[in-house]
Subunit: 201 residues, 4 copies
């Protein structure tokens, strides 16, 4: 298996998932009140579209940086990658469900938001598993020095830890969880990871 | 990050978005009057399908011409590109909403059309930002001469200016805005941009 | 523009369109009679899925054979290609509409079937336009000899002629049109085009 | 036809089909009972999402291993590949139908589950046909030794045999069929095929 086809398939899945997000953007339509009011009432849908869109975008950017360094593609890597995609593919549905209940603000909005954060947690764990796999002897083109490993583990752990925390917070305040997940997205956009630094060199 | 994967992911998103446009093409179905009459009543859906389809097609053509010249792919470029795709992905939903309200012709049709034009405005601004980024020292294979820069800025500005104007016009006449956006699409198809000229050489 | 990106984008659109076809495959669901009976009543949906699937597949195969031979990618070619994709993208919606009305067998089923054939006609004409474009001086790697041109024009004309005939037949018998379009698909699968012969060498 | 474009188109179809699976993941929404209870009642949807997702993933992995070894791409191969994709594309719809009826557990759930297994049977047979085609003289880069052929035939036959058995079992117990199909997926994930061994070397 060449790395190229792993990337092509993953890129395809990322591209479809990020585009399906927009299927949530509709409104109930004519006969359900003025359009501006309908749009206003559905603000969680627009916020969650932004957050989910950039989170998938970040995963894609980081996925590339990680996979680009890999020299051997084994069956184990392929299935870890499928596990990652399993969660990526679930993001549009989880976003839609979360936004639908957040609009209503009832008790179920806590459950829906916890589920949304749980999908991101699963994605972060799968990503960490792929990163862990790349640390094996002779699996990457450029060996990853010990210090870079520590900082990379730390960076991944932050995401996975905050998402777990976000699941718990969802049962107290659903909007607070959404804000947390948005902050994680911002952090990963702004932060210069080693991979990001290499990109910017 | 190689340019190749940026293109592959963007092409995937363009391809999915342009195909999802056609999900709007249905009618209400049996029991809602003769089919020909249903199709006739829904003419805005067919017109807006054409306009949105060719506008996404043009963005894709220009995106290629722009990205093809880039030598370094930085994190900044990746996120500007994500910003562009954020608006591209929203086009099918905005088209659907606009066409749905334009069919009814009520006061909300102004709001829906303004939103439609606003998505194109956002797309044009993101595109201009990417163009601006490419002007940085050493970012393109072929340096862009001063004169070509001026004409390119002018070309991009025209799109962004007309789309802003189209947002305002939407509150006076929604069909006039649709016509304006169609004219912009025609202009970009016919016009020989420097990139287009290079293509045709 | 390299040929590669034209192919990548087109492949993406073909892949999404062919997959969206399957969105029609559902039934009305529990509470609408025994499942087997529902499936039986909806046979036009399954037949039309097969016909549309293989027709898109054939277009993809022929598209490759045609584009593979091209050396220059001009703006004109890009827009002819967009025109082809405009019809390809409309196939799932036209298939869905046609099958929906064919199930009912009422007078509108003639209109829906004519529309279905008209989308294929548009696709065949766009394909012929691309083929015509490739005959221009110096546009292909391997020059197309005069005899091959004649037979290729003939082959394309057959498709475009039968589809036009199929539009007319739709107003007499919708199932006959569906059968005609199925026969065209079979013909293109079985027939050894020059491109096909080159493939099989 | 280069192998590259066959792979690109197939990867696109696999990517879209695997992502469309998640369209089934929604619930009936507010007003249909507590969210947790709705999610609990719909467990077959989540189980079948997992099984269909990994089965498509496995087909993709095996498809790559098979196609990667091919040196000539003939028209026959292209249409065998289209036949495989015909079944792949039908998986999301078959999954959705099966899960919808399994939730209800009525007599139609047997029919829906048999249909689900039949789609996998069709996919396995198409895959076997492609494998059989590759055994022709001079069609693969690395000739497949007689022993590897026997074990490969055996491996493919197991899948196709179990799926046929699963169709029959569906009329006795729908959940048992689902479990069988899940076991086949696990088997193909864990098993080291010759192709898999090559991957892991």
């Amino acid at each position: 298996m060449t790395r190229g086809r792993l990337e092509a398939f993953s890129d395809g899945v990322f591209a479809v998932a990020i585009t399906l997000l927009a299927l949530n953007l509709g409104v109930e339509g004519p006969g359900h009140g003025p359009l501006l009011q309908q749009l206003g009432d559905r603000w969680p849908i627009f916020i969650s579209y932004l957050i989910s869109f950039f989170t998938i975008g970040i995963i894609w950017v980081n996925h590339h940086a990680l996979v680009d360094n890999i020299v051997v593609v084994t069956r184990t890597l392929l299935f870890l990658n499928l596990l990652l995609l399993l969660f990526v593919v679930a993001i549009p549905a989880a976003t839609s469900l979360m936004a639908l209940y957040l609009v209503r603000g009832d008790t179920d909005s806590h459950v829906a938001m916890a589920l949304y954060a749980a999908v991101f947690e699963g994605m972060a764990l799968a990503f960490t598993a792929i990163f862990g796999w790349t640390l094996g002897e002779g699996r990457t083109r450029h060996p990853v020095p010990a210090e870079a490993r520590r900082s990379a583990w730390w960076r991944f752990s932050i995401g996975a830890l905050i998402y777990i925390f976000a699941i718990a917070v969802a049962f107290v305040s659903a909007p607070a969880t959404l804000a947390l997940i948005g902050v994680v997205a911002l952090y990963y956009i702004v932060e210069r990871t080693p991979a990001g630094q290499r990109l910017d060199r």
